[in-house]
């Protein structure tokens, strides 16, 4: 155990800090759930790429810096510290890319990864379907082989970023006779193919944060398949626990929120309910605990360890922490907390409301917390299945 950064790590931190100080836009970008905001965020991804900061964990030949997980954490800390824009390309870089690197052909890697790093292709995910939310093995959307194509019919839903994204990755049922985890295939496809229609779904704040996607005889070439036909579940799951579990929510994000909450409380200490201090103290403790736990996991992985139930304990911990921090802010703001971003005067207040709304989704998406508790109880604690 050595909880000190190496000289190299310290230099790396200084380098990203300097670059961000020079490049982070001085004005807040529009939400990437609007067309205009989406393109603004794409520009930012291109800017990041120009500094070779868009995918720091990737190998240098693919546009990355070959960072290990500790360096990635440092990058994220500085990124959140600088108040840099949200990553519109998160789906691609953090979720799809690790899978592509493990299961993709050389040709696929060359075809997709550089454009992803450059912000040229922005990716949406296609997991959920109506009736297959937390129970992902219930997928019914079909991809039937027809010569050198798959013909896709059916529907995906809750697809984040899909309203404006370029490409989609997801699981489809290639064997119509199969059930549950069998007979699924992992497919990558451009969202402008004929037969695709996209219906935006407005989220709580009124903006289309996700979409339903309808497939009507959509033909996708076989070379867009990742892994073997029928092996899609394994492809999707193999890396699901791994770095993904770690990368979904980096600790810097919550440490930044906690810092802001502390400031907010200090600014309102005269009028706020003194018992809210408890929630503020807890926000510091919990965001630190989350960071420490992430460093511990990263250290273990670097020494060849595997991610076990951390993915599930993490999910519960950060989603509940995020709710609690944003609720505390709402209570400090009191009657002003209801003002939205759309309100020109609301300024910082409305960012807390945005955060509060967003935090509501935390315990639900990426596997509801109920599902995560089942996983912890059965796989980590060994309790009997019901």
């Amino acid at each position: 155990m050595r909880l000190e950064y190496t000289e190299r790590q310290t230099k790396f931190r200084a380098e990203i800090r300097e670059w961000l100080a020079a490049n982070v836009p001085s004005h807040e970008l529009k939400s990437f759930d609007t067309k205009e905001g989406f393109e603004e965020h794409r520009e930012w991804e291109r800017k990041l790429h120009s500094g070779r900061w868009s995918a720091v964990t990737w190998p240098t030949e693919l546009g990355g810096r070959g960072c290990d997980l500790i360096e990635w954490l440092i990058f994220e800390e500085e990124y959140w510290r600088a108040g840099a824009p949200l990553r519109v390309n998160q789906n691609g870089i953090f979720l799809l890319a690790p899978t592509l690197m493990e299961y993709g052909t050389e040709e696929q890697k060359k075809r997709f990864l550089p454009r992803m790093a450059a912000g040229d292709d922005l990716w949406a995910q296609g997991w959920s379907e109506p009736g297959a939310g937390s129970d992902m093995a219930a997928i019914r959307c079909k991809a039937v082989r027809d010569g050198d194509h798959y013909v896709i019919n059916g529907q995906k839903t809750w697809s984040t970023r899909a309203v404006f994204a370029d490409w989609l990755f997801g699981l489809f049922r290639s064997d119509p006779e199969s059930s549950r985890h069998h007979g699924l295939t992992f497919v990558l496809l451009p969202l402008n193919l004929p037969g695709i229609s996209i219906r935006p779904i407005k989220q709580l704040n009124g903006l289309p944060g996700f979409a339903e996607i309808f497939f009507d005889d959509v033909r996708v070439p076989v070379e867009n398949r990742m892994g073997e036909e029928g092996q899609g579940w394994n492809v999707a799951m193999a890396t699901a626990g791994f770095e993904r579990g770690l990368m979904l929510r980096s600790p810097g994000r919550f440490q930044k929120t906690s810092k802001d909450l502390i400031e907010l409380y200090k600014d309102n200490r005269e009028t706020a309910d003194p018992s809210i201090s408890d929630a503020v103290v807890k926000s510091w403790m919990d965001s630190e605990a989350y960071a420490l736990s992430t460093y511990a996991t990263a250290s273990r992985l670097r020494k060849g360890g595997h991610i076990g139930a951390e993915a599930s304990t993490n999910k519960i911990f950060w989603s509940e922490m995020d709710l609690a921090m944003n609720e505390a802010a709402m209570h400090i703001l009191g009657p002003s907390a209801e003002l939205m971003t759309q309100d020109g005067e609301a300024g910082e207040i409305s960012r807390w409301l945005d955060g509060f709304l967003f935090s509501q989704a935390g315990p639900i998406y990426a596997g509801s917390n109920e599902i995560q508790r089942n996983i912890i109880a059965e796989r980590m604690l060994g309790l009997p299945r019901s």
Binding site: D135, Q203, L204, I276, E345, A361
Partner: protein, 351 residues
């Protein structure tokens, strides 16, 4: 000692519920919210036909002359159906304030009949709220100014619309100039009127909140009984059952608190303000909790604009901080229980 409502109270609120069920279905609310004013003349007329606008107005001004306790079940229904109208502000709060103005104020004669027949909308500015709800379509604004009461017409003030997360709320920053001409009550008498108004407003908000809590619970129950996962309705899973059961417990124990507060206001008991704060906190907590649990049961659907749940959640979040937020009301209770000689413990429940 009798802690039950009279049958005519219950019958009246039942009839209002049946009326609102038809007239305020979620699709209709969405339509109204999307209008610029956020208010519907047609709905207001129907509310007046039901007698709701006349409830608090004395009979001499063409009203029904009922009181706080008569309103409480009605406010609950208005909350349950998330009615987008300044009905409570106009027909409950402003009516009470005007009616209690000292002397034979001309204002009473002018406005109380208009409140009763539903033709007037009145907004109220109180310093506990940073903005003024429904100022934009108010025919009259009753303004706080150092405990004085002032009455101004809409054209006498400047206002800017603010944007609330609750699309049914119309909030305004209002700037105006108090003068001798606008003053309708001096601070000497106004202070206690404003106290009475604040308590009534918080009481009404509490009742709306418990109605909202119940509505969100009902939406959660409906959704969980229909939605299937792993081949079973999710409402058959213990995790879902227990979350909804906890909401039911919170609602059950908030309601009698609300009713005691209404009684205390009606009879101007010495603990009126403490009991109102208790009601606001208990009902607000029930609504906040119900929102959290209902969205969890709804899954991703609960996070959408199209599921009805959002309308009620947003109203709940907004009302929870209106007319005194948690800090405000908690402090009123803390000041009471820590005061020396406070009558606490068994046997003091109705003191």
């Amino acid at each position: 000692m009798d802690f039950t409502f009279k049958e005519d109270h219950i019958d009246f609120s039942d009839s209002i519920r049946k009326f609102l069920m038809v007239e305020a279905a979620p699709e209709m609310l969405r339509e109204i919210w999307e209008t610029e004013s956020g208010r519907s003349k047609a709905l207001r007329e129907k509310l007046a036909e039901q007698g709701l606008t006349a409830l608090s107005v004395p009979e001499e001004f063409n009203g029904i002359g009922l009181g706080d306790l008569d309103w409480i079940l009605i406010h609950q229904e208005l909350g349950y159906y998330a009615i987008p109208d300044s009905l409570s502000d106009t027909a409950y709060l402003a009516a009470w304030l005007l009616n209690n103005l000292p002397g034979d104020a001309a204002l009473k004669k002018e406005w109380l009949p208009k409140i009763a027949n539903g033709s007037a909308r009145i907004a109220i500015a109180h310093p506990v709220n940073p903005m003024v709800a429904d100022a934009g379509n108010a025919d009259l604004l009753l303004m706080w100014h150092n405990d004085e009461i002032h009455a101004v017409q809409r054209k006498q003030v400047q206002m800017t619309l603010r944007t609330s997360i609750d699309a049914s709320r119309r909030l305004f920053d209002v700037t105006w100039k108090p003068s001798d001409a606008t003053r309708i009550c001096p601070a000497s008498h106004g202070a206690s009127l404003w106290q009475g108004l604040l308590d009534r407003a918080a009481l009404a908000a509490a009742a709306h909140l418990i109605g909202l809590a119940q509505r969100m619970l009902d939406l959660g129950i409906d959704y969980s009984a229909q939605r299937k996962q792993f081949g079973k309705p999710i409402g058959s899973f213990q995790a879902v059952k227990h979350q909804l059961a906890d909401v039911a417990v919170k609602i059950e124990f908030a309601k009698p608190v609300l009713y005691r507060a209404a009684y205390s206001v009606m009879h101007d008991k010495s603990r009126r303000s403490v009991n109102v704060s208790h009601a606001k906190l208990a009902c607000g907590e029930a609504a906040w909790f119900s929102a959290r649990k209902s969205i969890q049961v709804h899954g991703a659907m609960g996070y959408t604009w199209e599921a009805d749940l959002q309308m009620f959640m947003k109203r709940a979040w907004a009302l929870n901080a209106a007319w005194g937020d948690q800090s405000f009301h908690k402090k009123r209770i803390a000041d009471f229980i820590y005061s020396s000689g406070a009558a606490l413990g068994p046997g003091e429940t109705f003191t």
